[in-house]
């Protein structure tokens, strides 16, 4: 078809076409040898990043407004004052080249951060319930994370543009899809946090709650924002540890677990930790894996507390993880994950049967954010 059409063309027209084609090749050649094509590429990339950055900014503003409205409804006259304070709050990492007592220093800094942010919020919103305070605290930390993403991208964009740094802009433009995904994830997470819905990370506490529902409870207490429940389940004395719910709270399961072991003077036959774990791309959401070690994803202090306490008294430390991706972990719990939590109970029963005899003492710790899950 095309061939016939071309053959019908007269000579004048075809020579014009070849002239145009020649010119195009010459322009391409000139662009290549002068490096001007890179300049054009750079401008296009900058335009692309700027457009995406504007999207991030509008998401950030939308989310800030959401939290401002919540604060106003709670009787805060100037929500901006408290919001900007919490948004820019930072924690300086402890010195790492001197590792002596680094865990103690890190724990101290983390706990101080926790109480300081809590006090800022409590001071500006009087008569605030624990449940509401926890939701506001978490919502603000999500906005703080979004704010950091926004500021860092803006920083590299401005720097790259000013210095004409091709490599910097290229790295940024290729990282943008992933960053946009993170921003979208945080944006969706905020909705779960403002409404207090259970999130994927709540899998550990949910499993513990399910055991709690099926067992005979002997005593309950709350230590350090963390619930410690003594119960009888499958003829074993079970000590359940989870963050105190149903507010948005991760508690201090490591510190509390080690305290419980010390109180029992090491008289524990088995420790099981249950947590949500990041899956690899391609793995199925809600698949369960078992292993050995402390299944907990904190910066260090809680995890090391579990390892130290169990190794001190030579208590076997087993781990169960429920797999999900980052988005599933911090947004409303998917049904697949809920069903996985039900199945995890069977795994626990199997581990109990294989590793302990009736009347033995077992600690089961559900690690994660307990929002929407009581106990």
């Amino acid at each position: 078809m095309l061939l016939e059409w071309c053959l019908e063309l007269n000579g004048d027209f075809s020579s014009t076409v070849s002239l145009v084609i020649q010119i195009i090749w010459i322009i391409l050649f000139l662009l290549l040898i002068t490096g001007l094509n890179q300049k054009i590429q750079l401008k296009l990339w900058i335009l692309d990043i700027r457009m995406k950055l504007n999207t991030i900014q509008s998401i950030l503003e939308e989310d800030k407004n959401k939290v401002r409205n919540i604060l106003r409804n709670l009787g805060v006259d100037v929500p901006e004052a408290v919001l900007s304070r919490v948004l820019e709050f930072f924690t300086i990492e402890p010195v790492e080249i001197e590792p002596t007592d680094i865990i103690k220093r890190m724990d101290h800094l983390l706990r101080t951060t926790e109480t300081s942010v809590r006090r800022i919020i409590e001071a500006s919103i009087p008569n605030l319930g624990r449940y509401e305070r926890s939701l506001i605290e978490s919502s603000m930390s999500i906005i703080a994370a979004l704010n950091i993403v926004y500021k860092v991208i803006r920083h590299y964009l401005i720097t790259g543009e000013r210095e004409n740094n091709f490599i910097l802009i290229m790295q940024l433009v290729y990282s943008m899809p992933q960053l946009m995904k993170i921003v979208q994830t945080y944006h969706e997470a905020l909705e779960s946090f403002t409404q207090g819905r259970p999130i994927g990370d709540g899998a550990g506490p949910l499993v513990v709650y399910n055991i709690l529902e099926k067992s005979h409870v002997k005593s309950r207490r709350v230590v350090d924002d963390t619930s410690v429940i003594e119960a009888y389940y499958k003829d074993r004395r079970i000590i359940l540890i989870k963050a105190e719910g149903p507010g948005s709270n991760v508690g201090h399961p490591g510190a509390v677990l080690s305290k419980v072991i010390e109180e029992l003077k090491g008289g524990v036959d088995l420790v099981i930790t249950i947590d949500a774990a990041l899956k690899l791309e391609g793995e199925e959401t809600g698949s369960i894996a078992e292993g050995v070690g402390a299944a907990i994803g904190d910066p260090g202090p809680e995890k090391i507390a579990i390892e130290r306490a169990t190794s001190k008294y030579n208590i076997p430390l087993r781990a169960l993880v429920i797999k999900m991706d980052l988005k599933e972990a911090i947004t409303t719990m998917k049904k697949e994950i809920y069903e996985a939590c039900e199945r995890t109970l069977l795994h626990i029963e199997k581990i109990l049967e294989e590793n302990t005899s009736p009347n033995s003492t077992v600690i089961i710790a559900g690690i994660g954010n307990t929002m929407g899950i009581p106990g």
Binding site: L2, L3, C6, L7, L9, G11, S14, S15, V17, S18, I21, Q195, G196, R197, P198, L206, Y209, G245, P246, T331, T332, M333, K334, K335, I337, Y338, G372, I373, P374, G375
Partner: protein
């Protein structure tokens, strides 16, 4: 080889180039993966019989609260689970 044939090859090359560019632009800018939407549901179960019902989630609800009576036996309905399911 007359000039006409060279022009034909050139035109074919040009057309191919344009097609590739259209495909690349479509692939990286226009084609977007279909986004899944989720609805949040809550599962209520009766504490006495095996009755259970799934409803839309209401903000502020959490697992374990008693929400209404069982229509078949009159027992308490307990919130058993809150989860997101894909919208069909």
């Amino acid at each position: 080889m007359n000039p006409m044939e060279i022009d034909v090859t050139n035109i074919i090359l040009l057309v191919l180039l344009i097609l590739i560019m259209i495909y690349l632009v479509y692939d990286s800018y226009i084609k977007k993966p279909r986004k899944k939407t989720y609805v949040v549901r809550e599962l209520l179960t009766c504490t006495k019989c095996k009755f259970n019902v799934e409803r839309d989630f209401e903000p502020g609800d959490f697992i374990g609260i008693i929400k209404g009576k069982c229509p078949s036996c009159g027992g308490d309905l307990k919130l058993k689970a809150i989860y997101a399911v894909e919208k069909k």
